[in-house]
């Protein structure tokens, strides 16, 4: 059996048989892949912590007939601060589901891998997990080729930077004005500060994001727009979104 090693983050796992686990890894070199971790649920197993959701490490895998088999692992980071903060763990779980649902197997994209990893490190630090999640959503959509148009109307091209009345259409993928025609049915009103924060978030590096201060009202506006935009692109809602919403209400 050929053996290979890759840097990866655990996106999903499920119990299998008496003591095994099947994991979905997002690897930098090979993209999303499924692997079986034998004995991972035994207390003393080296694989127990390495197959925990969001664990990041170097994984050695042996090519199997249906699933590759985990043979060795070295954990680099298990994000203990995320694990001990309810809001952080809920947001990070959502990120893992987003990557799992939006990407095909064995379709590597090192940029997305690096984005996910740096996002988890940002969340591990004392940052607002909601802001970090919005940065991830915007940059992730951009990396997938769905960068939203935020500076002009995507129907007539008119600049929207001085416009007081702004609308975002999830199906069209950006801003639309009501000068060039009736608003599309899915148009969501959005404020200028929210659009500017989205523009900043989409290109900001880790340090810049940490320093950005976005008022809660603006955060929730962007969050609303991104939820509909991602739902349109993914053609479904992320299941973990529901729990996030319940935390915000309670």
């Amino acid at each position: 059996m050929p053996v290979y090693t890759t840097s990866a983050i655990v996106l999903r796992r499920m119990n299998f048989g008496e003591t095994d686990r099947i994991v979905t890894l997002y690897s930098r070199e090979y993209g999303k892949l499924g692997a079986i971790a034998k004995g991972a649920r035994k207390g003393l197993s080296r694989f127990a912590a390495a197959t925990e959701l969001l664990a990041y490490g170097r994984y050695q895998l042996a090519t199997g007939r249906t699933l590759d088999v985990l043979s060795q692992v070295e954990i680099k980071e298990s994000f203990p601060s995320i694990h001990t903060n309810l809001s952080k763990v809920a947001h990070a779980t959502y990120l893992a589901e987003l990557v799992d649902k939006m990407l095909e197997e064995r379709d590597p994209n090192p940029n997305i891998f690096d984005l996910l990893l740096s996002t988890l490190y940002l969340m591990e630090r004392p940052n607002d997990p909601e802001k970090i999640t919005l940065m991830f959503e915007l940059q992730f959509m951009k990396a997938l080729g769905y960068e939203p148009i935020l500076d002009r109307c995507l129907r007539c091209g008119a600049s929207q930077s001085n416009s007081t009345e702004l609308f975002f259409s999830p199906s069209l993928g950006g801003l639309v004005c009501r000068v060039c025609g009736p608003l599309p049915e899915d148009a969501i009103p959005i404020t200028g500060p929210a659009v500017r924060a989205m523009q900043e978030l989409i290109s900001a590096d880790a340090r810049a994001v940490e320093q950005m201060e976005i008022p809660p009202a603006t955060i929730s506006q962007i969050s609303h727009v991104m939820r509909w935009y991602i739902r349109y692109r993914a053609d479904r809602d992320m299941k973990s979104r529901e729990f996030l919403d319940s935390l915000k209400l309670g």
């Binding site: 048989g17 925990e52 954990i75 298990s78 694990h83 309810l86 763990v89 589901e97 729990f243």
Partner: protein, 198 residues
């Protein structure tokens, strides 16, 4: 592979059991095909009896033979301490230690956002009702140290503490017989955080 129709039906039924793949299902089916009539009857009886006689305890949601389980109805158990677990099998594990004298509450699962399992699908309302009923001093959260177990424990701590009850979480750290060198960072951090004087 083509089975005779009744055999295919059995293999299909066994395959739906947890932890049983197509190969194990086939092996079990062939085994069952060869056991004696007596063995067959006692297996069928055992399954029927479990289905007929085992119900849920109306207090803690553990399996029970009556409305109230043996633990909840025992005068020897301390009713002011409730140990919250995910599944009835966790009770069996804790009971084996012979160390715990309180009672239990079975959530019947853990919060698992990715699978769409939220707090309202667990026996949390029933736990709150037990606490607001009075006489409870301590709630011990004994879910697994996994993302879902931690999420559930943190969620419960958030809603139980305002009720004025002491909420604790079972310690997680180095496994007995474990090797420091093997432990991951999260395990070591917890082991250090929850250290105690000896």
């Amino acid at each position: 592979m083509h089975y005779a129709r009744p055999l295919a039906k059995l293999v299909g039924a066994l395959e739906r059991l947890p932890g049983i793949g197509p190969k194990s299902a086939q092996r079990l089916a062939f085994h069952l095909l060869h056991i004696s009539e007596d063995e067959t009857r006692s297996l069928i009886e055992a399954i029927t009896e479990v289905k007929e006689k085992i119900t849920q305890c109306k207090v803690c949601y553990n399996f029970a033979e009556a409305d109230i389980c043996n633990i909840c109805s025992s005068p020897k158990r301390e009713k002011d301490t409730i140990c919250v677990v995910a599944e009835p099998r966790d009770i069996i594990a804790i009971e084996k230690t012979n160390e715990f004298r309180g009672t239990y509450h079975v959530l019947q699962g853990v919060i698992s956002p990715m699978d769409g399992i939220g707090p309202d699908m667990l026996r949390i309302r029933e736990l709150m009702a037990r606490i607001t009923g009075g006489g409870i001093k301590e709630i011990i959260l004994a879910t697994n140290p996994t993302i879902e177990g931690d999420t559930t424990a943190m969620y419960l701590a958030g809603i139980l503490k305002p009720l004025g009850v002491k909420v604790t979480r079972i310690a997680h750290g180095m496994p007995v017989g474990g090797d420091m060198d093997y432990a991951d960072q999260a395990t070591l951090i917890r082991a250090l955080e929850w250290r105690r004087e000896i």
